[in-house]
């Protein structure tokens, strides 16, 4: 039991993925700044933000449900940390009986979004409600293509839903991104994680200029710090999942360390560039995009995977 708590709290869970996620968040902001011809923040800025938020006072809404409002970020943090543990343990090649599989991950990765929604609704703010409904609709939109891409991976990995076996198949036969269905799947999942991370063009649920940060509008102080931490962790966990599924996981021996870091940075770079070169779409456009086009892509990927391409 002590081992699992260590996995959860220190490595590769809360502390480790929080710190790495913080650096990735800096990377994201720095790239954004360079794209916009700005200087960009110093490397420790995400951590300054976190600590500063802890020191601020927390305001809770007068007409809302106080406890639900304050508890929601805690559970969101749990969901993010748990999924990062389940992704990173196999991704880093740590052998342990304590792990999850793809289906469990789909559900765990939804927990943060669900908690944001419940917290937003508990705040009784009309704008938060708008944000929550959009977040929910976004989940409905990307759920099916995301799942289909994962299933194409399952088919390619000889019907195994265990992450460690997916890596093993890739190290034996080469990374999945090297095949046609792999490339199509990669493009699809890139769009899906863009929506999952709530980045432009799918930041509809937060939409600063329009509904003032939507789901997070009422959060402040420590509660907002928890949400920030959750976002850092997700920014590491989800690209790590993509690396695991398509690029054969990570390896920390010799020169492979560099490759592993570069793989994650590449995925983060891609989603950062997408978010910096696109305008925000409307929720209806986003739903249409996922339901029609991304589903089509994902179905093609699944069919190609069935034929072994």
């Amino acid at each position: 039991m002590g081992k699992e708590i260590f996995y959860f709290l220190i490595f590769p869970g809360l502390l480790f993925s929080g710190v790495i996620g913080g650096f990735l968040s800096w990377f994201d902001r720095k790239i954004t700044a360079r794209v916009q011809f700005r200087q960009g923040p110093p490397i420790l800025q995400p951590f300054y933000d976190f600590v500063k938020l802890l020191a601020k006072e927390t305001i809770v809404p007068l007409k809302g449900s106080r406890l639900t409002f304050l508890f929601a970020p805690v559970f969101a943090l749990f969901g993010a940390t748990m999924s990062s543990v389940f992704i990173l343990l196999p991704a880093l090649g740590i052998e342990t009986g304590f792990s999850g599989d793809i289906i469990v991950l789909i559900y765990l990765l939804n927990i943060p979004s669900v908690c944001y929604i419940i917290g937003a609704l508990a705040s009784a703010n009309p704008m938060a409600s708008v944000g929550a409904s959009r977040e929910m609709k976004l989940i409905l939109s990307y759920e099916v293509p995301f799942l289909l891409v994962l299933l194409s991976i399952v088919i390619k990995a000889d019907m195994s839903i265990k992450l460690s076996e997916i890596i093993a198949v890739q190290s034996a036969n080469g990374a999945f991104i090297g095949s046609i269905s792999g490339i199509i799947g990669f493009i699809t999942i890139l769009m899906c994680i863009q929506a999952k991370l709530g980045l432009v063009p799918f930041d509809i649920a937060e939409a600063e200029g329009e509904i003032c940060d939507g789901v997070a509008i009422e959060y402040s102080g420590s509660a907002l710090a928890l949400i920030k931490l959750t976002k850092y962790i997700m920014l590491f966990a989800i690209p790590a999942l993509v690396v695991l599924l398509f690029m054969g996981g990570m390896n920390f021996v010799g020169i492979n360390i560099l490759w592993s870091i570069l793989k994650v940075l590449l995925v983060v770079l891609l989603i950062t560039l997408i978010r910096n070169t696109n305008p925000r779409v409307k929720i209806k456009q986003a739903m249409k995009f996922f339901w029609v086009w991304m589903n089509l892509f994902a179905i093609v990927a699944v069919i190609l995977a069935i034929f072994g391409l």
């Binding site: 006072e57 007409k63 805690v74 940390t81 469990v104 929910m136 839903i161 739903m287």
Partner: protein, 608 residues
């Protein structure tokens, strides 16, 4: 065996006795019902502890009818028996406080007890004739447990009775065919392959019967109407828990013992299952009445059980049966909370409610746990069983045959249905419990202990069944039925639940490190504008975008016109024939005389 006699005939006998007693001593009746249901819960537990065996009862004077009283206590029936006992006890506790003057149903407790007794009878019996007797009795008590106080409720009651009654007669047809094939009315002696016309017809008619009871598409349409108008305790008792237990019990009996499934039978069940999941949950998404929303979910969840049982593999059957028990738990919990909200506020529309979490905290917690559970949020019980079904589908995908090849379709529809369930429960929770507190509900209080206690117990059981699923619950209840199976995924529910506790502590610490003592309450900020009463974004608006999508809008429009309601379609056909024939009744004597003479001539011609 004295146990079974107490189990089955005591509730029915006491029910008939209570029927004779006057309505004015309702409290006494309630307490008697409570005692009897407690006794039957106890005996149900004792039956659960029995070894699998066939039990003959000699209970009446005539030896000739002894052959009808053969009971089969096997692993499947004893689990279902235990849970019938549990739910029967829980809801009578709730009813004591819930069924008040306003909600009064004539002889409520009498029919309630008869329901318990006949459910036990239907589950335990080994004889088809006895089975159909108890099964039919259940349809009748279902009809009597709803009160017809206006047009809508009477037509809902009538609809339920007609649909259930029709399905009963279809079951009788199936039983007759089975007798024709096998020559016996004993369930345990039958094992037919689903090949040949007779066997296929028998299979389909029995499946229709079980699915009508459980409420799967397209024979589901009685459930949403029934639960909208029935008292919440009746809804929780029959459509939400007992009918699911019985219907899926019978389906499992059909799929596991009575027939050997072929590839096509499996395919049929999988198609029914996935259509049920998606169609019903799409309807739930746009409901305004929260009871009706729950009713559509009571339909949608059946799809998972049908898929699980239909897979026919041990893993799938285990998932389906576990989902049946879990569904009965969280859905009845949800109906109980709906009843509590309705009792305290008198509102039935999501739109008129809001912010009740402060006034009814215990009800809110129950509703939240059950809602997260039905949406399959780990580590609650809904996730545990859905996850088993998903694994079953993936495992099934390894097989050959068309149904196996299409495993991606079944899996995607099942998972997507779960996301849609979550969406509609976000609406349910936020519309009733979260959101801005309204002035008119300031005096709303938590319900009495008799009502919140069953709710909390059911919510706690939901959590326990989720947390200890793989280690304790499934081995105790499910594995003996389905046979041993190997899970292909990895999920340590206990450890994860423990880590949830850890992360709550971590959250507390972060809040404590932070400046939580400076907590300040402030009214909502909406971008600098003034908050007004009208400034609200109703949960009903949430999914308008979805219902306006071109293809979906078409289906919603047709569903509103009841195109997918088998009952309505048949009503229309019958009325059309009625109209046709009523044209002959013109009321003119000479026309009638012409008919009579013409008929006579035709008769003569044929006879000569």
């Amino acid at each position: 065996m004295i146990d079974l006699r107490f189990l089955i005939f005591l509730p029915i006998a006491v029910g008939i006795f209570l029927y004779v007693l006057p309505e004015s001593i309702k409290i006494v009746k309630g307490i008697i019902a409570l005692l009897v249901s407690a006794i039957s819960f106890f005996f149900a537990y004792k039956v659960f502890l029995l070894e699998p065996q066939i039990i003959n009862i000699h209970c009446f004077l005539f030896e000739k009818i002894d052959k009808f009283f053969v009971f089969n206590v096997d692993n499947l029936s004893k689990v279902v028996t235990l849970f019938i006992g549990f739910f029967g006890f829980m809801f009578v506790l709730y009813s004591l406080s819930y069924i008040t003057k306003k909600k009064k149903i004539i002889s409520y407790y009498s029919y309630y007890l008869m329901t318990i007794g006949s459910s036990f009878g239907a589950v335990l019996t080994d004889n088809f004739i006895t089975f159909i007797f108890f099964w039919g009795l259940l349809g009748l008590t279902l009809y009597k447990l709803i009160k017809g106080y206006d047009d809508e409720s009477s037509s809902a009651a009538k609809k339920s009775l007609i649909l259930i009654g029709a399905s009963d007669s279809i079951i009788i047809l199936g039983i007759a065919l089975l007798w024709k094939i096998g020559g016996t009315y004993r369930m345990s002696g039958i094992n037919t392959a689903t090949t040949g016309a007779l066997a296929i017809v028998a299979f389909i008619s029995l499946v229709i019967g079980s699915l009508t009871k459980a409420g799967a598409f397209p024979v589901h349409s009685w459930i949403p109407d029934y639960v909208k108008k029935a008292p919440a305790s009746s809804s929780a008792f029959l459509p939400a828990s007992l009918d699911k237990l019985l219907g899926i019990y019978f389906l499992a009996r059909i799929c596991m013992n009575l027939f050997e499934l072929t590839q096509w039978a499996t395919m049929l069940l999988l198609i029914i299952g996935s259509i049920t999941i998606i169609a019903a949950v799409m309807m739930a998404l746009v409901q305004h009445n929260y009871k009706k929303l729950l009713g559509y979910h009571a339909v949608s969840q059946v799809g998972y059980m049908v898929i699980g049982v239909g897979l026919g593999t041990p893993l799938g059957i285990a998932g389906g049966l576990f989902h049946m028990i879990n569904h009965a738990l969280y859905k009845s919990g949800l109906f109980l909370t709906a009843g509590s909200v309705e009792k305290r506020t008198g509102e039935e529309d999501i739109e008129n409610l809001g912010g009740l979490s402060k006034y009814m905290p215990l009800t809110f917690i129950t509703a939240l746990i059950c809602a997260l559970s039905i949406s399959g949020i780990p580590p609650l019980n809904g996730f545990a069983s859905k996850w088993m079904i998903y694994q079953g589908i993936i495992d099934f995908g390894n097989g050959s045959g068309l149904a196996s090849r299409l495993w991606v379709v079944w899996l995607v529809l099942a998972v997507f249905g779960s996301a849609l369930t979550l969406a509609s429960f976000i609406k349910f929770i936020s519309g009733i419990y979260l959101g801005r507190r309204k002035k008119e509900f300031e005096k709303v209080k938590e319900v009495s202990i008799l009502m919140w206690l069953p709710q909390i117990i059911i919510a706690a059981v939901c959590v326990i069944f989720g947390v200890f699923a793989a280690k304790l619950i499934v081995p105790a209840f499910i594995t003996p039925v389905s046979g041993a199976f190997k899970e292909i995924g990895m999920w340590d529910s206990q450890m994860v639940s423990f880590l949830i506790l850890v992360s709550i502590i971590v959250g507390f610490i972060i809040y404590l490190i932070g400046n939580i003592k400076k907590l300040r309450t402030e009214d909502s900020f909406i971008g600098g504008e003034k908050i007004q009463e009208e400034t609200n974004y109703s949960p009903l608006e949430f999914y308008k975008t979805v219902s306006k999508f071109p293809l979906l809008a078409f289906f919603y429009k047709k569903a509103e016109k009841k195109w997918f309601d088998l009952y309505d379609i048949f009503t229309k056909i019958i009325l059309w024939f009625n109209n046709l024939f009523s044209k002959a009744h013109s009321g003119i004597l000479s026309t009638y005389l012409i008919w009579v003479v013409a008929g006579l001539i035709i008769l003569l011609i044929i006879l000569i």
